[in-house]
Amino acid sequence: MADRIEGVKKLFTSKSARVDTNRGDAHYERLFQICQTRIEALKTQTPQQNRLHIDDLLEDQGISRRDFMKWASAVTGMLMLPSSFTPLVADAALLMNRAPVIWIELSDCAGNTEAILRSDGPKIDEILLDIISLEFNETIMSASGHQAEKQLEDAMHTFKDKYLLFVEGAIPMGLDGQYGTIGAHAETFYDHLMRISKHAAAVVAVGSCATFGGVPAASPNPTQAVGVMDVLKGKPLINIPACPANPANMVGVIIHYILTGQIPELDSLLRPKFAFGYRIHDNCERRAHFDAGEFVEEWGDDGAKNNFCLYKVGCKGPMTFNNCSIIRYNEGVNWPIGVGRGCIGCSEPDFWDKYAYERPMADANIKAPTGGVEKTVDEFGLGLLTAAGIGIGIHAAASLAAGKKEESGEA
């Protein structure tokens, strides 16, 4: 009976947003053993092509061992593991270059690549992404043209069934995919993705475009762009949405993979729960102002100067799952709401059309189911109510007239 209950529980909850932060000692002890064996095995392997050494890199950037261990314990917490895992996480970070990564770009702005590269004074997350064994990335590699294609072939061949494929950008499906082609043979983005994902160990979609279509898929979506999850079937897929995806979460996923050999627990939208299990709104520093009903009414008013809640200027924190309210961006420097601008729900499906407007949902124009006229829900509802009112009025007037006739004996 007990295991049947457990089975039913699993069936119905595995895909929900619920985050289980404490799975009991037995679970973690077993996991620790698995991770330890894995790390030991990885240590004996020689690194792949990337021969940069993390210790040197950290030293060059003036980051002490102590800072590194502090970072490791923070990542352990972020991955929702007990603190006893900290040394393992630190080891896994040092072994990041054992995981070969191929990174492709489709309909995108390279913003996620930029997020990693352009941080001023790279911090540990960014440095780690430097030392992963990045076998192929159009934006940052020196090879180009046929040479680049050759390099891709080599990487796919050498690390067959072992590499992680990072995908940045949406896939245009219109015109048989001809909206986006790559290379001398004009391979469509769709074919490109299918070919390279075929022998990937797992696929990681980074950024909102690769996960849910993002900006390229925004209405009217002329290229019929979609996210990776809409076209790729039968492969382990991890979505790391947000615009741009937070480098900390990319590192988290890679470390989790190195540590356990598995992909982290995902929610119904295939987002790792460690990063997307919580709402912005529930960890927001302005939440007290929300509950107090103190809102910024317009940009730059007294409320804005006093850090009031941004709900009325369109903050979508109540509907958005992401950890930027906890870990922030650029190694904890700040995040959107911290600088006084509402959340636009960048980690949610269809965010450009449904979340990214500077007013609450109730005041925003939404499409009628017919796809036609755009009205706010309240305009639409008031319209319905008025129509009903007119109908009632007509019926009442007719009834009155008919009633009078009856009394005067005409009917």
Binding site: T21, M319, P369, G381, S399
Partner: protein, 244 residues
């Protein structure tokens, strides 16, 4: 001679209390729900901290009302089958008699009471279907509302036990794709925003329902001359003796 009238009992005290509780809750849910959707009055910035929790109170009232709705819906669902009066489910089965009555009641309404060929002593099948529509919309509000609510319990913990968020996920997660479908989203993946739009829109549908309901009950009272409105006040209505 004036026709003799006979009193027929139609609603127990309990049913009447339930009715007015529902009506008051609905008004409260609309007022607080609209505030949650778009805070339409401002907190005085200089107010003392003690009465600061304007949004929190609105949400509190909204949820309390929702819980009362929950309980009342369960009771009503029970009454559908076990009521001491006409058990409503009997009027919902599309038998020939029920279908005929359903259209006769509509004809009565559109012919402005010129044609009345059904027995108005008992609850009629038109009204019963109409009430069912309300209860279905209310259930939808409950499910979508609870889906919006459960995300505040992301930790999976709650003060009344872990079963609560677990159960809410179990019974309401499916409203996400269904809401996306209902509001006709073009995106391949639905999200909680669709649930929110659907929750807000359904409120308007309920308001339209209420407008017609009140009008129709008053209209019946005036034109049928059988005191229908007192069903929900005193519990009974009056019908001419020859009928009852």
């Amino acid at each position: 001679m004036k026709p003799e009238y006979k009193q027929v009992k139609r609603m127990t005290t309990f049913m009447r209390i339930n009715h007015w509780v529902v009506a008051i809750c609905m008004v409260a849910a609309v007022i607080t729900g609209l505030y949650i959707g778009h805070p339409y009055y401002q907190t005085y910035i200089a107010d003392p901290a003690v009465d600061k929790y304007v949004m929190a109170w609105n949400r509190w009232i909204h949820f309390m009302v929702a819980i009362i709705f929950d309980v009342s819906s369960i009771v009503i669902a029970y009454l559908y089958f076990f009521s001491r009066f006409e058990k409503p489910y009997k009027k919902l089965i599309p038998t020939a008699a029920n279908l005929k009555e359903f259209f006769e009641v509509i004809l009565n309404l559109v012919t402005l009471n010129r044609r009345k060929k059904f027995d108005s002593t008992h609850s009629d099948s038109f009204n019963t279907v109409f009430f069912l529509v309300f209860h279905l919309m209310l259930v939808w509000m409950l499910l979508t509302g609870l889906q919006l609510y459960v995300h505040g319990l992301a930790s999976g913990l709650s003060s009344i036990g872990n079963w609560w968020p677990w159960m809410l996920h179990l019974v309401t997660d499916w409203t996400v794709p269904v809401s996306g479908w209902l509001i006709g989203t073009t995106a391949p993946t639905a999200s909680i925003m669709d649930v929110r739009v659907s929750h807000h829109l359904t409120m308007w549908l309920i308001l339209v329902w209420v407008a017609f309901h009140i009008y129709y009950q008053v209209w019946r009272t005036i034109y049928w001359k059988e005191g229908d409105i007192s069903i929900v006040v005193g519990g009974s209505k009056f019908v001419k003796d020859d009928k009852a």
